[in-house]
Amino acid sequence: MDVALSRNGRRVMRMFFALVVVFLYAPIVILLVFSFNKAAVPAFPLTGFTLRWYHEFLHNGSMRAALETSVIVAAISSVAAVALGILASVALARRGFLGKGLVATLLLSPLVIPFVVLGVALLLLFHILGVSLGLLTVASGHVVITIPYTILVLLPRLEQIDSSLAEAAYDLGAGPFRTFRWVTFPLILPAVLSAWLIAFTTSFDEYPVASFLVGPRLTFPTYLYSALRFPSQLPQVIAVAVIVIMVSLLVIVLAEVLRRRAEARLEGA
């Protein structure tokens, strides 16, 4: 007898699971359907197929500029967060030092700060310092948000790999940087890539903190939010929503496939 689930229980749960999946994906499907609908207001009945909204999006300069801005912010902040995350994770994984618990708490505490509070706090900081708001102020906030994510991804991987491998490299005369470059780094590479991907997508999508810190150049989420005030922009926003959601779903699936392949290769080695 299966102690966890009866045959009926399994059937009921499978149905429940399927229902929840429908609930989760239905709004996305609805966006998809209405992105091709002729009417400028998303409502039933459907009025016919059009590619007009996608077309308009492609010719909407400010929307494309916002996408570009977000890519820049996400690129800067994700690279910075991963670099800082690697440094911190190596220290946490390989070194014993006084106050380690306190340092770990500090490094992970952005996980639980309400974004509205972080946004406010950084706004006040830049106000007092007299820094004018722009891409870098947004990026600095995103680094704070994403450092804990990178550590949570990198630290378990570093703890998993055998530290005697690095020590063997030292014994063979490699310096610390050569050792990191040729031994440690290749071993944690899959984790570095997932950490970077998480940091990039988080930054790309982040609205609450960015809403306090953007300057005149809007990031994509802050642009979308302001576009929502104009009903005439809604169909275009829906079209771009569909593109963004589809691309991110694709990236997620691709990343998972690649991660599995990399892990299989590392375990085989």
Partner: protein
């Protein structure tokens, strides 16, 4: 226990010379980043809350007046409890829905459990703002649901279900929708690491499935459940994006108030600072209690 294990392992490590960056060299950048862009800003918020800094320059001195009016004025506190109530409801419902999903994935022995897990979580990894936007399109008076009801004749034209959008209900529905996939994850992880032998032992001892669940599985998965609960509660209680998009006046939350104190026509940074710090305090206490609870659980099982 810990100290003896530490000293036993240490000598072999310590004898080796430690090449490369020193520990301060490794930690210097990440720690100072968080001090400058995280700790100091929060200290500045605290300074604003007691008028050490003020928005409008002029004669001022250290005072608790903003704190005093926060506790005595009678608008902010009720609003805080309203947000807590909404957020608690959302967290509870979402955990109850997610538990069977995680249970099915972890314990039904389905071969595609990681694929199904990805299917479940993927929506969470797509744009937050756009998923909220989708509901705005769906719930409006002339939105997808209402116009569907009109065009199928289920409801007369001009009589939409208007509670759907710009209401507390809308905010809670959308928050639940947004966080549901994520919540299944911690529960799945605890159930997945559950020792199956315990369940078999329970069944060998003539426990029914219900008994095995109530006395073995559920208690052992409790840390995951509590984690899941907090993972929703913490971000939703200070939420302002969803209320501003689908909440209207009824769905106004504590976080929306903070934003308005900083951004609207009549900014009041001192009061906004008090509201922010109070929220941060409540959440820090909750987190500390939770971490203690986890540690205590670990000590008990060890």
């Amino acid at each position: 226990m810990e100290t003896t294990a530490g000293t036993a392992a240490a000598p072999t490590h310590r004898r080796r010379r430690r090449p490369g960056l020193t520990t301060p060299g490794l930690l210097g950048l990440p720690v100072s980043w968080l001090i400058v862009f995280f700790v100091v800003p929060i200290a500045i918020v605290a300074a604003y809350s007691v008028d050490v800094f003020v928005l409008f320059p002029g004669p001022h001195s250290f005072t608790f007046s903003a704190w005093h009016s926060f506790f005595s004025k009678g608008i902010y506190f009720p609003l805080f409890f309203k947000s807590v109530e909404m957020s608690l409801t959302v967290s509870a419902v979402v955990v109850v829905v997610a538990y069977p999903l995680a249970y099915y994935l972890a314990l039904s022995g389905t071969r595609r459990k990681y694929v199904l897990l990805l299917v479940l979580i993927a929506p969470f990894l797509t744009s937050y703002l756009l998923r909220v936007l989708a509901w705005k399109v769906i719930l409006g008076d002339n939105g997808v649901i209402n116009t569907f009801l009109f065009s199928t004749g289920l409801r007369a034209h001009g009589h939409p279900l208007s509670f759907l959008l710009y209401s507390r209900f809308a905010v809670m529905l959308v928050l639940g929708y947004v966080w549901l996939p994520f919540v299944a994850l911690p529960i799945f992880v605890t159930l997945e690491s559950l020792d199956r032998g315990l369940l078999e032992a329970a069944s060998d001892l003539y426990a029914s499935r219900r008994q095995a669940f109530l006395r073995v599985t559920l208690p052992l998965s409790l840390p995951g459940v509590v984690a899941a609960f907090l993972f929703v509660f913490i971000p939703t209680v200070g939420e302002f994006v969803t209320p501003s998009l689908v909440g209207g006046a009824n769905g106004y939350m504590y976080g929306s108030q903070i934003v308005d104190l900083f951004e609207q026509g009549f900014p009041d940074w001192e009061t906004g600072a008090v509201l922010s710090l109070f929220l941060l305090g409540v959440i820090s206490v909750l987190t500390l209690v939770f971490v203690r609870f986890l540690r205590a659980g670990e000590a008990r099982t060890a």
